[in-house]
């Protein structure tokens, strides 16, 4: 019995069924909050990131409507998670975003045009993952979660003080890969934080068809890791919770599963039709819990934000949007021979023949 139950950890406290927040929907600090409210500087950075993020998202949605993106999955309404998660990261940390997390990448500092390469259909990913320590956006649900665990494990092994933040949706938690990643992370005490943006819907499927558990954060219990349930429309709470979890992870405390309760205000993507599966009234109620308005209200009430600062953010946002628009009128730079260049480290003979044939066919051979 040397390796019996005793050897394993005792249960961490159960997550709260009600989401924990720092700022209430009207913009007031909540009482007895579980985390310290971030410094005003950090709060301003969050607001700035959300203002820019929302403008970027609106621009991308417009491009999609114009047919200039292959597809765009908006994160409008989820800015607190997108920005709160990204800004909590240190430069040395890694971000593992999904298709929905463009705003997160923008907040992380990735060139917005490079962020959109995937969705424009120019290439599968546009930015340099090493430069920004951002994995390519992941489409097969939950499959990048084990990548993050492996990478974080490797970073710790190398003596790096780095952690990884994995984004995933509520629906993705149902996949086997989520389970395996949670378990590997907990057993290996890998420095990983899983941020589940529970936006209530997996395309047309509501979260109560995904899980019968009180919250998705309760899953943490079964892996022996910490689980917390936070208000995902409260950027201060997301930032604080993710920061604390990252710190714990870097200190060897193992992974944390954070469920952030939020809402996808827009359709799943521009080609979705939410009228088929959800009430507009539901969406309208969530519009009232807007993460930007909430943080703006707090900062104004506490004198940390004035019109000039807010104007400044909005101007930056317009510049970002304009840059995206402009640089999108240029030609795309993908060349047919790129098809062959990256499949292997060096092009095998068989591919080289196909490359020559293609170039000949299009008159470039």
């Amino acid at each position: 019995m040397k390796r019996s139950d005793d050897a394993r950890g005792s249960a961490p406290p159960l997550p709260s069924v009600e989401p924990v927040g720092l700022v209430d929907p009207t913009g007031r600090r909540t009482e007895g909050a579980a985390y310290d409210t971030p410094e005003p500087g950090a709060l301003l950075a969050l607001l700035r990131g959300m203002v820019i993020g929302r403008r970027f998202d609106r621009q991308a949605s417009a491009l999609a409507r114009q047919g200039r993106l292959a597809v765009y999955p908006s994160s409008r309404g989820q800015e607190a998670c997108q920005v709160g998660g990204a800004l909590a990261l240190a430069d040395r940390d890694w971000l593992f975003p999904t298709y929905r997390d463009c705003v997160s990448l923008v907040a992380r500092g990735v060139d917005p045009v490079e962020v959109l390469t995937l969705l424009r259909g120019d290439w599968h990913s546009g930015y340099d993952p090493r430069r920004h320590r951002c994995a390519p956006q992941c489409t097969p649900l939950a499959t990048s979660a084990p990548h993050a665990v492996g990478l974080a494990w490797a970073a710790r092994r190398a003596g790096e003080d780095a952690a990884a933040l994995v984004m995933m949706g509520d629906g993705a938690t149902s996949e086997g890969d989520a389970h395996e990643a949670f378990n590997f992370a907990a057993v290996w005490k890998a420095p990983v934080v899983f941020l589940v943006q529970n936006n209530q819907w997996a395309i047309s499927v509501p979260v109560d068809k995904q899980s019968a558990a009180p919250t998705l954060a309760h899953k943490a219990v079964g892996y022996g890791m910490a689980g917390v349930h936070i208000d995902g429309n409260d950027a201060a709470a997301v930032y604080a919770a993710v920061s604390q979890a990252l710190e714990a992870a870097r200190d060897g405390g193992g992974p944390t599963l954070i469920e952030a309760r939020t809402y996808r205000l827009d359709p799943h993507t521009n080609s979705d039709d939410p009228g088929r599966y959800r009430d507009d009234a539901e969406r309208a109620r969530w519009e009232e819990r807007d993460p930007l308005a909430r943080l703006e209200a707090l900062l104004r009430a506490e004198g940390a934000l004035d019109d000039a600062a807010m104007d400044g953010f909005e101007k930056e946002a317009e510049i970002t949007a304009a840059a995206v628009r402009e640089r999108y009128s240029g030609d795309d730079e993908t060349a047919p021979e790129d098809l062959f260049a990256h499949v292997y480290h060096s092009i095998p003979a068989q591919l080289e023949r196909q490359r020559r044939d293609l170039l000949a066919e299009i008159g470039e051979g």
């Binding site: 292959a70 597809v71 298709y99 995937l118 969705l119 259909g121 120019d122 290439w123 599968h124 489409t139 097969p140 649900l141 629906g171 993705a172 149902s174 996949e175 086997g176 890969d177 997996a202 395309i203 047309s204 499927v205 068809k209 995904q210 899980s211 039709d273 088929r276 599966y277 795309d332 993908t334 047919p336 790129d338 098809l339 062959f340 499949v343 068989q350 591919l351 196909q354 293609l358 066919e361 299009i362």
Partner: protein
């Protein structure tokens, strides 16, 4: 239902009629309920038959296929949808180690009358993981029936037959053809789903295609006709088992063959077609069976997919490489080697 019907509508009608005909049919998967599927193939089914007959499950493909195995063990006829080709991969183990093997494992005592619907293939400008052609993986797996319709009528008829089949069927739906129209009267019964059919008769070359490429093949045949080459187009329909009789009869007559598919050529399904037709028709062949396939690269991003996908031009080029100058007079028919 008579008049113009799209493949998507025909499939939808087939599911509706199957649900109405047999209470043991259930339809489920991701977003197949109120949304009606991302391609609307299950549109209206929940409204008409209720949540017990057509519903959304948790988002997990192995779970979807795995629970369908259990339902089929019990005697139901589940029809499950994998939302896109690449999203069937999480269910690979369930399909290969159970769906394909349960009947054999139990000496026929547990049949699995289930259908796994997979929209597959590219050409719709979709981003990564939404345009794979996975047929070679399934076709190589004994115990599965793998079929793919190319027309609305076939979509209807083959899906009804798949639902009624005592064997599990991987039903591959050519997603770029969901909007393909045909004048049709539904319900309809076309050729049995394990048969290939000749879509266009011709004498000079046999062009073998399936699913999304049948339309392209017919276009190529029409173009070739203008240049004086008479092309017979065979729509394989059933990828496993393979209908040797129809395909080989055509090739023996024409003496030349090209097979076309979207999937990467290397170790792709076309290799089987080429290899077995060569085995069966060697002395009739004036030239090797050529393959016009996707490149041996991961499915490209939208801006490059035109370069990956077999086109009419590439098929015509293949015809040109069939060594016309070398036509010999047919030798006295030799004994052919068995398959």
């Amino acid at each position: 239902m008579a008049g113009t019907v799209t493949l998507g509508q025909a499939l939808n009608r087939a599911l509706r009629d199957a649900l109405a005909a047999d209470d043991s049919v259930v339809v489920y998967g991701e977003d197949v309920g109120p949304l009606g599927g991302v391609f609307r193939v299950t549109d209206g089914l929940t409204a008409e038959f209720g949540e017990e007959r057509c519903f959304d499950s948790p988002l997990a493909e192995a779970g979807i296929v795995g629970t369908a195995v259990g339902m089929a063990m019990y005697g139901l006829r589940p029809v499950v949808e994998m939302q896109f080709d690449a999203f069937s991969y999480p269910a690979f183990e369930q399909v290969v180690s159970h769906v394909a093997k349960m009947r054999n494992r139990t000496r026929g005592r547990l049949e699995l009358p289930m259908v796994i619907r997979i929209p597959y293939g590219g050409g719709i400008g979709a981003v990564e993981h939404h345009a794979d052609s996975s047929e070679a993986y399934w076709a190589h797996t004994p115990g599965l029936r793998v079929v793919t319709p190319a027309t609305p009528s076939d979509g209807y008829s083959m899906l009804r037959e798949a639902v009624d089949s005592p064997d599990p069927v991987v039903f591959l739906e050519p997603k770029r053809r969901y909007w393909t129209k045909e004048e049709a009267v539904l319900p309809v019964r076309t050729a049995p789903m394990d048969r290939a059919v000749v879509r266009r008769s011709g004498d000079d070359v046999t062009l073998l295609a399936y699913g999304p490429m049948v339309e392209t093949a017919l276009e190529a045949a029409a173009a070739a006709a203008e240049e004086g080459t008479s092309v017979e187009v065979v729509d394989l329909r059933s990828l496993s088992p393979f209908d040797d009789a129809t395909a080989a009869a055509s090739v023996r007559r024409t003496g030349r063959a090209v097979v076309v598919h979207e999937a990467s050529g290397f170790a792709g399904y076309g290799a089987e077609v080429a290899a077995r037709l060569t085995e069966q028709c060697f002395h009739y062949l004036e030239a090797p069976v050529l393959r016009v396939c996707g490149l041996d690269v991961p499915y490209p991003p939208p801006v490059l997919e035109e370069h990956h996908l077999p086109s009419v031009d590439r098929i015509l080029d293949a015809f040109d490489r069939l060594q016309w100058e070398r036509t010999w007079t047919a030798a006295p028919a030799p004994a052919e080697v068995g398959a």
